[in-house]
Amino acid sequence: MPKRVRMVAQIVPENCTGCRLCEQVCPTVAIGMRPRRPDEPGKSRNIAMLAPEACYNAQACVEICQDNAIEMVELAEPFDVGFEYVGANDEAVKALCRKAGYGRTMQICVCTDTKAGEIAAAIVAGAHTPEAVSLATGARTGCVELCMNPILHLLACAGYGDAPRNPKNGFQWYGESATLWQHVRPDGTLPEEIRETFPEFPLDKEFGDMAKLKRR
């Protein structure tokens, strides 16, 4: 299902200090830097520059900016972003989701309602970095948080866990964060040392009860 983008960022040149924080957090890498023109107000040599077609209204730049140098403006004509599942390599998508441990219809990005199958299809179709996945699907352009680890995990399962960060010193993502599921053995149990480490947590019950859930 596509996301309707109703707002995009707009740089306020006189407030921009060229600190590059906005560039470092944008999930779709819609912001770069350019030299400040002589007629533009402001002091820094460089200022932020937006590629509006790549701005999906995540507002991460607004959140990180300490200088009030980014405003969100409403679009006269909103546009939709999202992945066309039609034509995707279905077997490859199934295999990737299976390897990652996600059902294809499992909701990964709650903000944009993007499913694991849609993200897997985008990866199979050539989106091999988190920002490419976001540009293709719209996922990770809301809270930029909830879906982060599953996207990194799907990319890693597809062999793209070591994608270079973009920009090089950016921190829109680092790497997969450890999970409990990654320690589950083929027989569905956890190693004894993990059970002993967290005795207060109902680990056995958790796995048993989770298995009782069945998807529609």
Binding site: Q172, G175, S177, A178, L180, Q182, F201, F207, K214, R215
Partner: protein
Amino acid sequence: MATAATPFLDDLRPPAFHETWHKHRPAEVVKRRAADLPGMTALPVRALMPGLPGTIWSEDPLLGPTSLDEVRRQAKARAQAMDWTKIEQGRTVNLLANPHGFQLCGMAYVTMLEVIADHVRETRGAKVRLRIAESMGHIENPDWVKIYGLRERFGDVEECPQMGAGTKVDTKLGDMYVTRKLFDAPYFIHTHVTEMREGYLHRMLDRLMKPFGMAYARLETRSAYHFGFGPRTGQIVSRCIFESDFIQQRYVGTMVLDTTSEGVASVEADNDLKALDRRLAAGIMRNYGMAMKILGEIEDCVVVFDDHGCGVYCYAGGIAFDNMLCADVDFMDLDNLSLLAAERHDSAEPGLTMGKNAAIRGIVINYMAGGVPQPFLWDNYPIHVVGETVNKWMLNDPTNWHFERAKARVWPTLEQAVATACREGGTKNVIVFDRTPGAFRVTRELGEHLLARAPELRRKVEDVYLPKWLRQRGLAA
């Protein structure tokens, strides 16, 4: 204080609106607060639970003392009793705060932070920096730094969003990531409030440790908390990070405001966070149990959002809306999975997961902040919005694109929105989440219904729920 003869507090007001980081000014947009609708009253939590501990600070004099003296006195006493010798003379200490403390405990939280900062400066000659762990950051929160003049009070203050630069931490389960700026000093001090927010996540397991797995963690790890663990084991993230060498090398101690629905009951502290958590856990469940469970006694109603906070994080009677949304399942009971997204699942065992609350017949948004996705509201309940401006704020929220599919009806006045929601929902009952402390803002009839249900429910909480919750966690009654 409320009396048995007249339990309702008609004069209790909701807190005022603030300007948000998005420069939204709800006070200029909202024409009428839901508290001012005809027939509304405030049902004190104390009327439902007379045994609620008294407060040392409340936001409203109708609930208890508003002077900060006792908060300051207790915070000083706790600070003096703690061991700060880990902090080498003259070094830098990050004092960690969170937006929920400011939101729920206001000046009491600020006072506690000031006492800690002063004590550490005086006794250790340390430089103390206030670092605020932003959760959903600027989108969700009013600008607490300005509202409480934190720069003037503390000097070096910085808000640290979860999307800021991170630090990789080696834990017992593998790599996890925390927000760098929170831990970029040789030492840090942890602070918290004990209120019952996100109980469906922390499940009262290591409750006071939760910020280490969420507020202090970066995006990847917060995501893993939600997607890489079960609904009763997410707090393992918090435990892993807290017990990591990286954190333990820097950790000095913890001070918290122990809260009830009415405000602050006491200031508590310990260098041993685990011991502090165990000491307070039973009281937290006892003090909030009745307020949580009474929401499950509502048979039909319209919910009005009328404050900061986003959906599940809007407050009434000192507890968050998530308690009402999930009132169909006892999420303090560790026998239940209690998945929040369970309405999207079929369960082989009814009661194992949380579903749609059938008692909610409609939702009215007078004002609500954005920043947290709430499709489980838009997809499950009729939505009414008051005014085009608030509707536009909702539509433009980057995390709630799906608000559009709610096909919310926009009304020029609150009265029209509530009247329509009630008529179409077949109910006369209204409950308002407007952050009024100590009382549920409800229609009189609903208040009387809840009062009538209270004695039996109170017995059930005391005799059935609470003993089970405590037993499951190995806590003494």
